[in-house]
């Protein structure tokens, strides 16, 4: 299956991915309307260390620890995609405690959220928003 991969060699640390992610998952049409004056809770995060920057998002592990650990049975993997059922999640954050990549974080309402490849997002354009918006192809969506 296609996954998101990042190559820090080409990451510029511009953080467009974070904003594109937040917008894609906002459900609002118009980025300014969606994000202006708001704190964003992106599902992809850029890390910086000196000149090294790279983005981290869910790896959609073959054997996802988060899903096995979820006390609410809210995290499932289907067709290769690990998703959080926002209705079931109670915000205990056990998934945050077990994710080796630090790719899960609570959203605005306290429930766990993570990259779900923008599937089903009304304002996404078929590929994950972070990938489409990356100006340097540091984030790609492909089979490996």
């Amino acid at each position: 299956m296609k996954r998101i991969f990042v190559d820090e060699k080409w990451c510029l640390g511009c953080r467009l991915c974070e904003y594109n992610c937040a917008y894609s998952n906002s459900g609002v049409v118009g980025m300014s309307k969606a994000l202006k004056g708001k704190k964003i809770y992106p599902r992809i995060r850029v890390e910086e260390k000196g000149d090294t920057t790279f983005a981290v998002s869910c790896r959609h592990c073959e054997d996802p620890m988060c899903s096995k650990s979820c006390i609410a049975g809210a995290i499932t993997k289907k067709d290769g995609i690990v998703r959080v059922d926002q209705e079931k999640c109670v915000g205990c954050l056990t998934c945050v405690l077990v994710c080796p990549y630090g790719a899960i974080a609570p959203g605005e309402n306290g429930t766990a959220q993570k990259c779900e490849l923008c599937i089903g997002n009304s304002n996404s354009s078929g590929e994950p928003a972070c990938v489409g918006g990356c100006p340097n192809k540091a984030i790609v969506f492909e089979e490996r």
Binding site: K9, W10, C11, L12, G13, C14, R15, L16, E18, Y19, N20, Y23, M31, S32, L35, K36, G37, D51, G133, P135, N136, K137, A138
Partner: protein, 501 residues
């Protein structure tokens, strides 16, 4: 001192209804023109630092940015225009020579735009490139004046060394140092994929790029930076650079700040030292000296590599080219006065040299008049902007074109013309690692290949319209061109008729 204050050239217009303070502009501006104000949580700008490279405009996710010409104006004066006035202020405060980059931006005539291309109607058919073969392959190099035969009567098929091009366009010289590693990698990989050539410029050849040698032209310039036997043998051809269209008559100067790491090693000069190429080659003060260098290089490479001599288009170009053609060179490259540069004195860039169109027409005709046109191939550069420029150049008599500015544009250059600062926000004309990485060669290669592929399609369309299905029969086919808005003299030099004739 207020006398030193020069109004910023540009104004950064931020639409605050759109701006989400994501700070992408701030992170992306190496000139630090954008500032985030923590207290008010809004983006501010320092316009004096803006060079209008459009990086922020391109990356702003909400399209909140616009860079516009500063409206603050001197009183209008057709003679003393605002650029002239500002230059005087700059010189009055610094006492220095003004520097600038890329090609001559002055409103001097562009002859490409005054020439129109023919098409077939009724008396012979246009050819559809989608249905019929359409050939753009070109061989550059000396052609023998008479065939020789073997004892059995068959032709001897050995030829002097030739460069085979899938289309009549090559990437012209840009040195590693003046442009980045990633820019070079993009050019090298694209050239290899396209079946054309790129040119090292005078900065030597990085060891990583020897692999692309079969598609590389290695340059020998007056500074001889990075020149050694391995380098000469690595390329497919050797180019002796006598001059450059953007700055005929002067040498080059790459500041020590760009001579870092691999650049210094590749050039074979110490880190941090300025790389100064002298105005002349100090072993070439005349045409016979050139002949010696041509043959020295041929000796060094066992006569396996064609030798190109590159000159700037200057007044006496036809005679100069004739001399070069008789010097043993296989290819003459002529660079017109609009050619780009990483840095040149403004006065030189804007006032020295002649248009490539006229130089090309004069040289091609002169070499034909002397019957030596087939002894050399002609490559022209200096602002070839599009496929129709290529077609017109070939029809005037060129074998191939050199492009550089167009290639840089494909790589992301926005022609802000401040290469000399080394702070290229697009990762091209810089050696700062955090900026260099902004040009991902995977993208760069793809965009160059796309550009050239698009041009190739357009060249074929134009050829097909003329009923020509091989680029060879376009070369020097001036009947396919007509002039518009030109004087008799201009038409005479170009060797074409006026439209309607």
């Amino acid at each position: 001192m207020s006398l030193n204050y020069i109004t910023p050239e540009f104004e950064i217009k931020r639409n605050y209804d759109r701006c989400i303070s994501c700070r992408v502009c701030e992170r992306q501006c190496a000139n630090e023109a954008h500032i985030y104000d923590e207290d008010s949580k809004i983006m501010l700008a320092d316009e004096s630092k803006c060079v209008d490279c459009q990086r922020c405009v391109s990356l702003c996710p909400t399209h909140a940015l616009k860079i516009v010409k500063n409206e603050c104006a001197f009183r209008e004066n057709a003679n003393w225009q605002s650029d002239t006035i500002k230059e005087i202020y700059k010189q009055a405060s610094s006492g220095g020579v003004l520097l600038s980059s890329m090609g001559n931006p002055k409103p001097l005539p562009v002859y490409w735009d005054k020439m129109l291309v023919n098409a077939s109607q009724v008396t012979n058919p246009p050819i559809d490139p989608l249905r019929e073969p359409m050939e753009t392959k070109v061989f550059l190099g000396k052609k023998p004046s008479r065939p020789e035969r073997n004892a059995d009567g068959s032709l001897k098929t050995d030829l002097p060394p030739q460069l085979e091009l899938s289309m009549p366009v090559m990437f012209s010289a840009m040195s590693y140092g003046s442009i980045s590693y990633n820019a070079h990698e993009s050019l090298a990989r694209a050239a290899a994929e396209l079946g054309i050539y790129y040119n090292t410029g005078e900065g030597g050849l990085h060891e990583d790029f020897y692999a692309y040698g079969p598609n590389t032209i290695v340059q020998v310039a007056s500074g001889r930076f990075g020149v050694h036997e391995g380098y000469l043998s690595a390329g497919a051809a050797i180019e002796i650079k006598m001059g450059q269209g953007a700055k005929p008559g002067i040498g080059g100067h790459l500041p020590g700040t760009k001579i870092v790491g691999d650049v210094s090693r590749t050039r074979m000069i110490p880190e941090g030292s300025d790389a100064i190429s002298p105005a002349p080659h100090h072993d070439i003060y005349s045409i016979e000296d050139l002949r010696q260098l041509v043959y020295s290089l041929k000796e060094a490479t066992q006569y396996k590599k064609p030798v190109i001599v590159k000159v700037a288009a200057v007044h006496n170009i036809a005679a100069i080219a004739s001399g070069i053609a008789r010097s043993g060179a296989d290819i003459i490259a002529i660079d017109g006065f609009r050619g780009g540069t990483g840095a040149a004195p403004t006065r030189i860039r804007d006032n020295v040299g002649i248009p490539i169109e006229l130089a090309l027409a004069a040289v091609d005709q002169r070499l034909r008049d002397e019957g030596i046109r087939n002894d050399v191939s002609l490559v022209v550069g200096g602002s070839i902007r599009c496929a129709s420029d290529v077609v017109k150049a070939i029809a005037l008599g060129a074998d191939a074109c050199y492009v550089a500015t167009a290639a840089l544009l494909a790589l992301g250059c926005h022609l802000c013309r401040t290469c000399q600062t080394g702070k290229c926000n697009w990762g091209i004309a810089t050696q700062r690692p955090e900026l260099v990485k902004r040009l991902n060669p995977n993208i760069g290669r793809e965009r160059l290949v796309n550009l050239m592929t698009a041009w190739k399609h357009e060249i074929k369309e134009l050829m097909g319209g003329m009923g020509i299905n091989s680029i060879e029969t376009l070369r020097g086919n001036r009947l396919m061109l007509r002039g518009i808005n030109m004087t008799e003299k201009e038409l005479e030099i170009l060797g074409i008729s006026h439209a309607g004739e």
